[in-house]
């Protein structure tokens, strides 16, 4: 492989990382907002949040990406930059999986903690911020770590839309060299290394957060 092709792979890796970080941020925001909404007092809010989760978990991420790329522009007149379109599709889909993690962790906090908050005259917002979340967040880290690896693997989907991520650059190199075994092995290895680093990072975060609680 020539240095130009390596540069291509490096650029693809950078795009993948950018996409991963942006869509992870969106997914985190969505999962907390919708996950907390699923524990709301009003049934309308709970219903809407549940509907969101079911719809976005029910469709395939790749179909969602197609939808954002092809249906949004003519239907609403939004033509998004590929990076943002990818971020939107991935963030919304994987965020829907995240809402279940947040809801589960909130439900797993001992009800007596809630009641203690009520007895002490905390407002609902204070109960959430000062009692529920500090206990629930450390429990969310391991499932979120799995979801993050899933999201990393999901970023490869945008290459189908012609976005120059790692998988796409792999395809370009294959076309340039007419030889596929090497380049795809490298691409798989790069994904594996990123996934490995992510799980290590999340394990460190878990340690850090658990140390704060106990």
């Amino acid at each position: 492989m020539t240095s130009g092709l390596w540069e291509l792979v490096l650029k693809g890796t950078w795009t993948t990382i950018q996409l991963l970080v942006l869509s992870a941020l969106l997914a985190a925001a969505v999962s907390f907002a919708v996950g907390i909404a699923r524990t709301h007092r009003l049934w309308v809010v709970r219903f809407l949040a549940g509907l969101y989760t079911e719809v976005f978990r029910g469709t395939s991420a790749l179909v969602m990406i197609f939808w954002v790329f092809f249906v949004l522009p003519p239907a609403f007149g939004w033509q998004l930059v590929p990076l943002w379109a990818g971020t939107l599709a991935l963030g919304l889909t994987y965020g829907a999986y995240g809402t279940e993690i947040v809801r589960g962790a909130l439900a797993a906090v001992d009800p007596a903690q809630q009641e203690g908050g009520v007895a002490l005259g905390f407002t609902p917002g204070q109960r959430l911020r000062k009692i529920l979340l500090p206990q629930a967040v450390p429990e969310m880290v391991p499932p979120f770590s799995n979801l993050l690896v899933e999201l990393l693997k999901g970023t490869a989907l945008v290459s189908v839309m012609g976005m120059g991520d790692l998988a796409f650059s792999g395809n370009l190199v294959r076309l340039a060299l007419q030889e596929s075994a090497h380049i795809y092995t490298y691409v798989l290895l790069v994904y594996f290394v990123i996934a490995f680093l992510l799980t290590r990072l999340m394990r460190g975060l878990e340690h850090h957060l658990k140390a704060g609680v106990r």
């Binding site: 991420a61 790749l62 092809f70 239907a75 609403f76 693997k153 795809y184 798989l188 594996f192």
Partner: protein, 216 residues
């Protein structure tokens, strides 16, 4: 936004064809992943590290890399090595292999959840090893893992559109072909999006009844 019902009507014949392919891939992929996952899980219990290590490394690698790139790998590299499969066959093998690394963990957890007393009772009754596995451990372990396996069937369903990237004409492939010919993207893409929600909902109902009959 204008919605054209006649485009939906024109798309329907292609849609049924695509749905059939999707369901076939799903059925075969599940079959492969369920059986191969069990093989991985059992190999991980072979008490030498010469087996445990390679199996662990391979499955960990397959689990942590994207299915899409694995599809490309199998589709473009195997022919270079003189092994040419059709596109759907490659897709089924790739999906089955990828998901077998997930189901392996499910089986492992199920086997570990069988109480130690069952093992001891099998030893006390002098059952041979094979018989212990077949008649005591696996029936209890498999019954426990049905719900978790069902979840993987659902996520496998949502990964079948990836096969479009290696030219398999499943639902998304048909929708893309149709929309490129007619230049109508909204209708086919929305139809298959709704179809995914409906199929996965029906499948989840089916799995829940299956679960209720197996897990008591």
């Amino acid at each position: 936004m204008n919605w054209d019902w006649s485009a939906v009507g024109d798309f329907l014949p292609y849609f049924w064809k695509g749905l059939l392919v999707t369901l076939q891939v799903l059925a075969l992929g599940s079959l492969i992943s369920f059986s191969l996952g069990l093989v991985w899980a059992l190999l991980c219990r072979v008490p030498t590290r010469w087996v445990q290590w390679p199996v662990g490394v391979v499955t960990e690698f397959v689990r942590n890399t994207p299915l899409l790139v694995q599809l490309f790998f199998l589709f473009y590299v195997l022919p270079e090595w003189g092994l040419a499969f059709s596109a759907p066959a490659t897709g089924v093998v790739a999906i089955g292999l990828h998901y077998s690394t997930y189901t392996m963990q499910v089986y492992r957890a199920g086997i570990e959840a069988v109480p130690a007393g069952q093992w001891e009772a099998a030893t006390a009754l002098n059952l041979p090893r094979g018989r212990t596995w077949r008649a005591v451990i696996l029936p209890q372990a498999l019954r426990r893992v049905v719900p978790a396996l069902g979840n993987y069937v659902l996520s496998m369903l949502k990964d079948t559109p990836l096969l479009m990237a290696i030219t398999v004409l499943e639902m998304l492939g048909q929708a893309r072909l149709f929309s490129q010919e007619r230049f109508q993207f909204t209708e086919p893409l929305t139809v298959i999006g709704v179809a995914f929600v409906v199929v996965s909902y029906l499948a989840s109902l089916l799995l829940r009844t299956l679960e209720r009959r197996l897990v008591r």
